[in-house]
């Protein structure tokens, strides 16, 4: 039966961790001692629990870089104590610089919200805010013929709604005022692996827009910002 194979996958995760830990400490003996000394992530990631959206992996970042909360359909409810505790800890105590709310294409939660049937259990209650988004934009969503495109559109609207909730959060408001915390709404396209800035939050233009080139000289490299892109050159 399938169970034996499942147990193999389970053992794989543990043995793979062993190999990863060995590789990491071989590559950089300081890696784990540094991790053990504490965390100072710059980014709070609020995303979906979906197995296809592993934040640190898709961002190409390392352990220690991203503080994470993931729930069903990346719903931000103002009275949800779980998300509120995460925001408080990350913004007040860890002083992250960016809050990133990320939706994604082909989201099961979005599909459920677009359908008229019940999901069952506590899920219908949890998905209520997303249902409300659907009802508020019923006509626009109905006009989209393609199922995939409709799911992407409701995911965008869901991020927009979540950003509104984040911008109304007292802790986040204070941090924007006091130290320029940035709040961003983005969408991850599972079909291409790319993240798109939706332009919601503290930077309404979704980046630099048409501003001229900007060059930042660091100690080891020079960063050039051009339009929506950045490139890096190693200093000689």
């Amino acid at each position: 039966m399938a169970y034996a194979n499942d147990q193999d996958t389970f053992l794989y995760a543990l043995s793979s961790n062993n190999a990863w830990a060995g590789y990491k400490s071989h590559q950089n003996p300081e890696f784990f001692p540094k991790l053990a000394s504490g965390q100072s992530p710059k980014i709070l990631w609020l995303g979906c629990s979906d197995s296809r959206c592993p934040e640190t992996t898709i961002l190409g970042m390392q352990p220690g870089d991203v503080f994470v909360h993931r729930n069903i359909a990346n719903i931000i409810s103002p009275t949800d104590i779980n998300t509120s505790a995460v925001i408080e800890f990350a913004v007040v105590y860890l002083k992250v610089r960016h809050v990133v709310l990320c939706g994604h294409s082909a989201c099961g939660g979005a599909a459920a919200a677009l359908s008229d049937s019940r999901v069952g259990g506590v899920l219908d209650t949890w998905l209520t805010p997303l249902k409300a988004v659907r009802n508020a934009h019923r006509e626009e969503l109905q006009a989209i013929r393609d199922d995939k495109a409709r799911a992407i559109r409701i995911a965008e609207l869901n991020v927009q709604q979540g950003i509104d909730v984040l911008m109304a959060n007292a802790t986040i408001q204070d941090a924007i005022e006091e130290r320029g915390l940035d709040v961003h709404g983005v969408l991850f396209d599972i079909g291409t692996g790319r993240i798109r800035d939706l332009g919601f939050g503290t930077r309404k233009d979704g980046g630099r827009g048409g501003s001229p080139d900007e060059v930042v000289r660091g100690r080891h490299a020079t960063l050039v910002f051009r339009g929506g892109n950045a490139s890096m050159k190693v200093n000689r």
Binding site: A36, S51, P54, N82, V100, G120
Partner: protein, 221 residues
């Protein structure tokens, strides 16, 4: 830092994310041209991972699991509270709809949430959340009080918290009913150590724990 430097720095740290994401997407696409097409077709993860929000424990990175293999919920101090509809929705969806085979509750030594919970301070909105950890301490007060060294005592509290949250997962209707019918999911308790990067399996006896809680929490009839 001058104001202009700060805004430049913020722009850089944000743009770095997009830069890295582009590099990652390109690399994955080159390694396996069908990768993203297959991903967008749907998910069929074997695992539900309930871990801490701590930036140092990205589930997929430390376990080597690929995108699509683990459904993930992360919150402060990997808590599973019975009235929290957020985590309850995650468990419900993972068990009943995705039919995961394993649920892992993963804590970590040196957990800031566990430390904060034991600090005699009013932490505002964090109070109701962290209270659950104080309750775990109260359940194991004798054992914990007997550990003289502070770090060792915290580390033991981290382990006991994981065990208690595993118990809370097992108490859910979704897990009890699914196991009665299909013999899965199995619930595991792990602890991640930063000093060596290794996961420690607390080797929870899942079936015994299930039998024990069902005296009071049975939801299968």
């Amino acid at each position: 830092m001058a104001e202009e430097d700060i805004s430049k720095y913020l722009r850089q740290t944000h743009d770095r994310v997009f830069e890295h994401n582009r590099a990652w997407a390109k690399e994955q696409g080159e390694k396996d041209p069908g990768f993203f097409a297959q991903l967008s077709a749907g998910q069929n993860p074997e695992y539900l991972w309930i871990g801490c929000s701590d930036s140092r424990i990205p589930a997929e990175v430390i376990t080597g699991l690929e995108p699509g293999e683990a459904f993930v919920h992360r919150n402060i101090a990997n808590l599973v509270c019975n009235t929290d509809l957020n985590v309850m929705s995650v468990i419900n969806y993972a068990v009943r709809h995705l039919r995961v085979k394993h649920i892992v509750v993963c804590g970590h030594y040196g957990c800031g949430g566990v430390k904060a919970a034991m600090t005699p301070k009013d932490l505002g909105i964090l109070n109701p959340w962290l209270r659950n950890i104080r309750d775990v301490y109260r359940l194991h007060e004798k054992e914990l009080d007997a550990i003289p060294e502070e770090e060792a005592r915290y580390n033991r509290l981290v382990e006991l918290n994981v065990v208690e949250q595993c118990r809370n997962v097992i108490k859910t209707a979704a897990v009890q009913q699914s196991f009665a019918k299909d013999k899965f999911p199995i619930v595991h308790g792990w602890v991640f150590g930063f000093r060596d990067g290794l996961l420690k399996d607390l080797e929870i006896d899942f079936e015994k724990m299930l039998g024990d809680i069902q005296k009071i929490y049975n939801l299968t009839e």
